[in-house]
């Protein structure tokens, strides 16, 4: 490994705030411009309203940025917080961090929920939230050392850009004797050349004696990190136990932890087997239901999909415990050892790959028309190493491939590369170009929204067709589910606050397969409850997978099995036992609702957050092309005749495509009306004065914002 130096430029010794009922009640602020380090108390009213995690992130960001702040302005903040329940060893999914910043892709807050030990270690070191602002001239490493009660800033020289090597070097440097005490946050060298940069959060895998990764992938947070010239943020902490959060009722916490972990240990082997295959079980299921994106979301299934599903990855994954937090029973963060890339700087060398998960398989595999599990591993490895989001990379390259096949771009524009679907080598070459900062890869690294503008302006491509097939909304690339036949999931993507990511609502099967929500009002109710409840995990420092991917055996007897009410009850008990704030299951939704609406208002503050931005490319709603229509002709003909009462006798396919589009787009607008009403928003998608008052977020600047937008 190359030599490097860390020159200490600032050190702050502090008295570590004790943790009381899951909270330290203190924040840590690092200003990279002035090199100021500040520790501040967090007011009780902030705790009461924003809970923690994403709620804290948004509140601190709200106070740091103005409505005119751009992603690359110094005042833009990167906030990282766990939550009051985060850091509970043994509670399934109990160690998450939530990261936010103003996204280079969207111009609004992006949030990403990530594993690894950083969030809990930072909290145990004394801080409920870390906020980084400013911009440094020199490369900076930030150390939060909870063992020695010191915060240090270092100027770094000679540190590699390679994220895996960097994390390993810093883990060794800061605690060679006990590497498990270290968690590193870093990005990779492509983050500074693109707008798709991710953050890698580490934990040390004691059995394999290596640094492992999880990603805060979405929205270009790594790009902001690189722009601020942060090389890494390191948290150092020692022992962790069930008492680390100093829970209000230890016995109750221990009891609910035992119940939930015990159930997962018993039932996961009989259900989705996530401890063995992660989320790759979803690949064949999505494919069978025509929901696996193939060739830029054009189709939903492919006969070779079985090559990239659980049946294959089960045999490729390295066996052993793969929890991204201590003692997590789901343990789904699998990896592959001794993989040998066939391109790039690691060509011919054995490497460890952290992944792939479903999103990477679908985005970097089927959506590119590739059904080679080892190609997906190589895309996964280089995206992590280079600091790139596998979802935006997959969806972005899929768009490029369709543009290439449609003749909207040619080899003249791609530097001579054939970018037809299935071209593995050139897909990988785009990644390598992003890290070298050269070639067509630099354009792809700007994301779909900017690509569409460049292709139209500089290459003369048809803007209208690119609008239909470019799978982005609000500037963020879609995650990897087909939504054409699920209106509810179209809403789940189109009305998601940060852009089309499925963590707010995943309603495809309830809607499309089970027809559980036939009316607009049914769908609106689901698009209220599910986003609110899923938000709650991000407030508390938890993972959502243990909620509904392993369920009680009697869950299907419940009239609303999708809510997994038994687990909702356990989460209420967990929250009560740690924080001492007694809550019932019914209290969880209003907790989230305040933060959810606040984030919507944050979008409004940034110049977005109204109806016109909750739009979808038509590819997400229905068939764009004649080919697409013909591929599912029976389904679309039936939709026209039975649902829309259209007489299709004698109609040309092009006419059918146009008529279906008119009806489906109108239906999506009707859905927006119903959802906005259910959420207590105006028809323009803004929370009403009554709503913000009911939720207790009627702060003076919120009222001013509403007034400025004609709401009151």
């Amino acid at each position: 490994m190359a030599e490097f130096t860390l020159k200490e430029i600032k050190s702050l010794e502090y008295v570590r705030p004790e943790i009381e009922k899951g909270y330290t009640d203190h924040s840590l602020h690092v200003d990279l411009s002035s090199k100021d380090i500040k520790i501040n108390p967090i007011e009780p009213k902030v705790k009461e309203k924003f809970i923690g995690g994403k709620g804290y992130d948004l509140w601190f960001m709200w106070n740091s940025v103005s409505g005119k702040t751009k992603w690359n302005d110094p005042e833009n903040a990167i906030c990282i917080a766990s939550g009051p329940l985060g850091g509970t060893p043994g509670y399934p999914g109990g160690g998450k961090s939530i990261v936010t910043t103003i996204s280079p892709l969207t111009g609004i807050p992006i949030d990403s929920n990530v594993g690894g030990y950083f969030g809990p270690y930072t909290k145990f070191s004394g801080f409920d939230i870390l906020e980084i602002t400013g911009k440094s001239d020199a490369q900076i490493v930030v150390l939060i050392d909870g063992i020695d009660s010191k915060i240090k800033l270092y100027e770094a020289e000679g540190l590699t850009d390679d994220s895996y090597t960097l994390s390993t070097q810093l883990t060794d440097y800061f605690d060679k004797e006990k590497p498990v005490n270290i968690s590193v946050v870093s990005t990779g060298s492509a983050a500074k050349h693109t707008e798709l940069g991710c953050l890698n959060f580490t934990w040390f895998d004691a059995k394999r004696k290596r640094v492992r990764y999880k990603q805060a992938g979405r929205g270009g947070i790594g790009t902001v990190f690189a722009h601020k010239n942060v090389k890494a943020v390191v948290a150092r902490w020692g022992s962790v136990s069930m008492k680390s959060n100093n829970p209000a009722d230890f016995d109750a916490m221990k009891n609910v932890t035992k119940l939930h972990a015990g159930e997962i240990n018993e039932l996961d082997p009989k259900q989705n087997r996530m401890a063995l295959v992660g989320t790759t079980h979803l690949v064949p299921i999505m494919n069978d239901h025509d929901c696996l994106p193939v060739n830029n979301f054009k189709y939903g299934m492919h006969p070779e999909a079985h090559n990239i599903g659980e049946a294959v990855y089960e045999h490729i994954f390295d066996k052993g415990f793969d929890g991204c937090w201590r003692g997590c029973a789901v343990a789904c963060a699998h990896g592959v050892k001794d993989f040998v890339p066939f391109t790039g700087p690691y060509k011919g060398q054995k490497v460890f790959v952290d992944g792939p998960e479903y999103e990477t398989v679908a985005g970097c595999g089927s959506n590119l028309g590739v059904f080679d599990p080892f190609f997906i591993l190589e895309m996964n490895f280089y995206c992590d190493t280079y600091g790139l989001d596998t979802i935006s990379i997959g969806t972005g390259i899929a768009f490029v491939m369709e543009c290439f096949e449609m003749g909207l771009i040619t080899k003249e524009h791609t530097g001579g590369m054939d970018l037809s679907f299935g071209n593995r080598l050139n897909a990988l070459e785009l990644l390598h170009q992003m890290v070298r900062g050269e070639g067509f890869g630099m354009i792809v690294g700007k994301g779909i929204r900017k690509m569409k503008a460049i292709f139209a302006k500089d290459f003369g491509a048809d803007a209208a067709i690119m609008q239909d097939i470019g799978m982005e909304s609000k500037g963020l690339e879609f995650s990897e589910y087909m939504t054409k036949e699920s209106l509810a999931q179209q809403g789940g993507y189109g009305m998601a606050l940060k852009g089309p990511q499925h963590d707010e609502a995943w309603l495809i099967f309830l809607d499309m397969v089970h027809n559980f929500m036939p009316t607009f009002e049914n769908k609106a109710e689901a698009l209220h409850w599910f986003p609110m409840f899923r938000t709650w995990f991000g407030l508390c420092g938890l993972c959502k997978l243990p909620w509904n991917d392993i369920v009680p055996e009697d869950n299907r007897q419940n009239p609303e099995p999708a809510k997994v009410v038994k687990h909702v009850g356990w989460y209420a008990d967990f929250f009560s036992s740690v924080t001492g704030r007694k809550v019932s299951p019914d209290d969880l939704i209003p907790m989230s609702e305040a933060v959810y609406n606040f984030q919507r208002l944050f979008n409004l503050k940034m110049g977005y957050g109204t109806r016109e931005f909750d739009t979808l490319p038509y590819r997400a709603v229905g068939p764009v092309t004649v080919d697409e229509y013909l591929s599912r002709v029976e389904r679309y003909d039936k939709d026209l005749t039975e649902n829309y009462k259209v007489d299709i006798t004698g109609m040309e396919i092009t006419e059918k495509v146009a008529v279906l589009r008119k009806h489906r787009e109108a239906r999506y607008e009707q859905l927006k009306d119903a959802v906005y009403k259910r959420r207590g928003w105006t028809p323009n998608g803004i929370p009403t004065l009554e709503t913000v008052k009911r939720l207790g977020i009627d702060f003076p600047d919120v009222i001013e914002l509403l007034k400025a937008n004609g709401v009151c």
Binding site: Q271, D288, E480, F509, H514, P561, A562
Partner: protein
């Protein structure tokens, strides 16, 4: 005999996944099962015949990634 969610059930020649689910209560949200370890999804329920001595688990409602 077959085993469904660890309970023994009678088997007959030609029984499909769909027929099995129709015999059980509260299966309206079942979109995938494991039949002898292999995933079978809704579109194949009508055509997939269950062999004797099969071990079947009904998967929970699919909830996305």
């Amino acid at each position: 005999m077959i085993t469904v969610d660890e309970k023994k059930m009678e088997w007959h020649q030609g029984i499909t996944i769909r027929e099995l689910l129709n015999r059980l209560e509260h299966t309206q949200f079942c979109a995938a099962v494991r039949l002898n370890g292999k995933l079978i999804s809704t579109p194949a329920f009508e055509t997939t015949k269950i062999p004797d001595n099969a071990v079947i688990y009904l998967l929970p409602l699919i909830a996305g990634g």
